[in-house]
Each structure stands twice: as structure tokens, then as C-alpha cells.
């Protein structure tokens, strides 16, 4: 997609970006453009660098070589400033296991100043309110933990959503909820990048698909 000249600035711009884990170049020169409101699917084998690409875009990893910009911020110099505008759901859920679902969502929502109403809305959207809201996260199933983590993400109202295997652990109903949530978020102006092995479901959800192979990105 080289229509950058006519489109508004891409949300994600990677040019030959290299990201290193230890001494291993997990991302070995990735080039990618993601436009606003796209739902982009990253497919690729394990070890290809999908997780690293997501973490790079979240501003968590330094760019070793090449260029990377997210939401206009150059990640070489401003990767801390980009973070409040990005939501990352990685393999871990980022939850406090001894607190309740409600406490977790409230904590994460409050760190960005979300109102009580927005937090309640987020919890209702992911169906983790009600009885579930008072349970400790430690006692939840994997799918319920995932939904809680997503509720935290929704409460933060990020402009760029980065999701690593979001469907994993969810049952059919949960997956439908997730798809609905993502479509609604994209419609409301968010950009979404999803790494997934669930090619059918994620493929139906996505507006575009790219392949990540051996640390690089290519069109399928």
C-alpha cells in the first residue's frame, strides 16, 4: 500500500525496522504501513516476530536499526510519549491476580482518568460485570481473565490496539463478543493490529492481512 501520498498519515510506519531481544534480531528489517481504522491481521509461524512487532509498536522495545513511527511519534526518540495512546494485550494479561475484576478495570481505567460510567460500560461490553465483577482474578478461567484484560483495554480508549492472540482461551460466545468489540472500536476511530493463528475468524474480522516471516513483513 504505497498510497501514503493521498491518505492521511499512517498510524504505524515501519521502514526496515530491527528490534533485538538479547542479541537475537527478532525483527530483522520489517517494513509496514497501517492506516487509520484498519483492522490488520498479522499471520505467520511461531518465532516469526509477531509479538516483537506488536511490542515495538507499543513503545516497549527500542528500535535497533531502521525507522519506526507510531501515531506520528518517532520511536527512536519518543517511545515513552506514544504509550498512553496505545493499548497492548500480550500473552500475559497485565492483571493483579489477588484483586477482583472490578478493582482491576477500575485501576487501569483510573490511570487514564476514565470516569466511573466509562468503566462500567467497558465491563458491560465484555460481560465481566455483575457477579463476575466481584471475583478475584486468580479464580477465573483463562477466557474470563482475557475478557477482563480486554475490558481494561477498552476502558483506556487507546487509538491503536495491539492484540497478541486475543481469541486464545475464549469460547465461541466470547469470540463473538471480542469481534463485535473490535469492529465497534474500529468504527469509532481506533486502529487495530491483531496477531493470530485463527486465520478464519481473524481473517473475517480483518480488513487486511500481512505475513510475518523470519522477522520481516510481506504481503501474502
Amino acid at each position: 500500500m504505497s498510497s501514503a501520498a493521498t491518505d492521511p498519515a499512517p498510524v504505524v510506519e515501519l521502514d526496515d525496522a530491527v528490534a533485538v531481544l538479547g542479541s537475537f534480531p527478532a525483527l530483522a528489517g520489517a517494513t509496514l504501513r497501517v492506516q487509520r481504522r484498519e483492522i490488520l491481521l498479522l499471520q505467520g509461524p511461531n518465532g516469526a516476530g509477531k509479538t516483537t512487532l506488536l511490542r515495538l509498536c507499543a513503545g516497549l522495545l527500542p528500535v535497533a536499526r531502521g525507522r519506526a513511527a507510531v501515531l506520528g511519534w518517532d520511536l527512536a526518540h519518543h517511545r515513552r510519549e506514544v504509550r498512553p495512546h496505545v493499548g497492548l494485550l500480550g500473552h500475559a494479561n497485565g492483571l493483579y491476580l489477588d484483586l477482583s475484576v472490578g478493582d482491576n478495570v477500575r485501576f487501569w481505567g483510573s490511570t487514564v482518568g476514565a470516569s466511573g460510567a466509562e468503566i462500567t460500560e467497558a465491563m458491560a461490553l465484555l460481560a465481566v460485570d455483575g457477579r463476575l465483577g466481584g471475583l478475584k482474578v486468580r479464580s477465573l478461567s483463562a477466557g474470563q481473565k482475557r475478557r477482563t484484560a480486554l475490558a481494561c483495554l477498552v476502558a483506556r480508549r487507546a487509538q491503536l490496539w495491539l492484540l497478541d492472540e486475543p481469541h486464545a482461551g475464549l469460547d465461541a460466545a466470547g469470540r463473538d463478543e471480542l469481534d463485535r468489540t473490535l469492529r465497534a472500536a474500529a468504527a469509532a476511530g481506533a486502529t487495530i493490529v491483531v496477531a493470530s493463528h485463527e486465520l478464519e475468524r481473524a481473517g473475517a474480522l480483518a480488513t487486511r492481512t500481512v505475513e510475518v516471516v523470519a522477522g520481516q513483513v510481506r504481503e501474502p
Binding site: V18, V20, G22, S23, F24, P25, A28, G29, Q43, G44, P45, N46, G47, A48, P62, A64, E211, V213, A214, G215, Q216, R218, P220
Partner: protein, 266 residues
């Protein structure tokens, strides 16, 4: 990217290709090295030979010709580390980080020598290896603090990450040392003990001269070692970078070899 001093660049070029020379030596370091050896010989001559034995301490005073210079150097090394840490945070040039690291390594070595020689001196003069006086105790804590600094330097990650972490820690150490010093001093002032360290300025002229030679000799040694160590570190960093180039090439070759999307690539 790493920026090297011109002399170091020549040295690393030597490593890279030329069959004539390999290593971190240059004309400047050769001269420095010779000066160091000469002054060390002077130190041995004066310290062990020409200067007289002390009236009270007898031959044990000769240990001071090593002990005092190493203390001075240990503190100099840590000042260099602190200043380099600050300079790195200001300028973000990896050369400052390498200087900070090399200086800390040398500081730890000199501090260890100080403590050991000091303990021997104490045994010979006061009859004990250790005294809980302000200076010794602070020195010991300083020693451990910088061992911690070196441990953090080896945590891994990119060069920039290592540099930032170490620089912050280096500056924190600067914060810690005065606090430790004052608290230990206040503490020991409660116990009217004798000072372990030689405060006797009533030294024979020749003894003072030997001490002076010692300081010069060790300072030259420090400078010589620092230059070599920072250059060696620069080369280590270059090897890391080259390692990354190789790893990148290998990974990209992997991509070329994979025809489709659904294979497990390990």
C-alpha cells in the same frame, strides 16, 4: 553508532585488517607505558631502597608507598565514573559509557589493593587487620557499591540500555557515598578511637618523595590501563554490532528460504 577516538580507530583498523599490528596499542600508549614502567622502577628503588625505615613503623612504612597512591587512585577512578555517567546522560555518546565502566573496573581493583595492603600495614603496625574507623569503613562500603555497579553493567541488553542503566546507577552511587561517609564518621566519632590511617606528616623528606613517586607511578598506570580498557570495550561493542549484522543476515536468509505462510520456522 559507536564513535571512536582517532587513535582508537587506527587501533581497531589494525585489528580489522592490517597484518602488521593487532591490539589496542598506539604510539601514545607506548610512550605512556614506558613512562609507567620507568616511574614504577623509581618507586621500587626509592620505596624499597633509598628511603629510610620509619622510627616507629620500621619497614612497614614501605607498604604506604603503595597504599596511599592506590587510595588516591580509587577515589579518582570513581570521580571519573561519576563525571562520565553524567556526561553520557547529557551527550548520549557511548564513549562516555565505556569510560565510566572502565574506570569503575579499575577503581574496584585499586580499592581491593588498598584494602589488602592496608590490612597488612595495620597488622604490622597496630597488630590488627581491621579497625572500624571512618575512612576504612567508608572505603569498604564504597568497594561493595561499585561491585554492585559492575554487576548491573553486565545485565545485558543493547549498548544504549546498558549505558543508561549504568549511568543512572553511577550517579546514585555519588548520592550514596557522602551519606555513607557522614553517617560512618558521626558514628565513629562516638568512639574515641585511634585513627588507623597514618596522619603523620612528620615524614622524612625522602619518604615524602617516595610517596610522591608512588602517586605519579600509579596515576600513569591508571591512565595507561584506562586507555587500553576503553579501546578494548569499544572493540567488544563492535563485535556485538557485527554479531548483530551476521544474525540479521542469517534471519533474512531464513525468510528467503520460507516459501509459504504455514511452516514452523525455527
Amino acid at each position: 553508532m559507536t564513535t571512536l577516538h582517532p587513535a582508537a580507530s587506527r587501533a581497531t583498523d589494525a585489528v580489522a585488517g592490517s597484518p602488521r599490528r593487532a591490539g589496542t596499542g598506539t604510539t601514545a600508549t607506548r610512550i605512556l607505558g614506558i613512562a609507567t614502567i620507568v616511574s614504577m622502577c623509581w618507586l621500587v628503588a626509592f620505596g624499597l631502597g633509598f628511603s629510610p625505615a620509619d622510627r616507629d613503623q620500621e619497614e612497614a612504612v614501605r607498604l604506604l608507598y603503595v597504599h596511599v597512591p592506590t587510595i588516591w587512585l580509587a577515589y579518582l577512578a570513581f570521580v571519573v565514573t561519576a563525571v562520565s555517567s553524567a556526561m553520557y546522560l547529557w551527550r548520549r555518546s557511548l564513549g562516555w559509557d565505556r569510560l565510566a565502566g572502565a574506570s569503575a573496573e579499575l577503581g574496584v581493583v585499586f580499592m581491593a589493593v588498598t584494602l589488602v595492603v592496608g590490612a597488612l600495614w595495620g597488622r604490622l603496625t597496630w597488630g590488627v587487620f581491621w579497625q572500624w574507623d571512618a575512612r576504612l569503613t567508608t572505603t569498604a562500603l564504597l568497594f561493595v557499591t561499585y561491585i554492585g555497579y559492575l554487576a548491573v553493567r553486565n545485565l545485558g541488553g543493547s549498548h544504549a540500555q546498558r549505558a543508561t542503566r549504568s549511568a543512572v546507577l553511577g550517579l546514585l552511587a555519588v548520592l550514596e557515598i557522602p551519606l555513607v561517609h557522614f553517617s560512618v564518621q558521626l558514628w565513629r566519632s562516638l568512639h574515641q578511637g585511634r585513627t588507623f590511617e597514618p596522619n603523620d606528616t612528620n615524614m622524612d623528606g625522602l619518604m615524602l618523595f617516595s610517596l610522591f613517586v608512588g602517586v605519579i607511578a600509579f596515576t600513569l598506570l591508571y591512565t595507561w590501563l584506562i586507555i587500553h580498557r576503553t579501546r578494548a570495550m569499544a572493540m567488544e561493542d563492535m563485535i556485538d554490532d557485527r554479531g548483530l549484522d551476521d544474525a540479521l543476515a542469517a534471519r533474512r536468509a531464513e525468510a528467503a528460504a520460507v516459501p509459504g505462510a504455514d511452516e514452523e520456522a525455527h
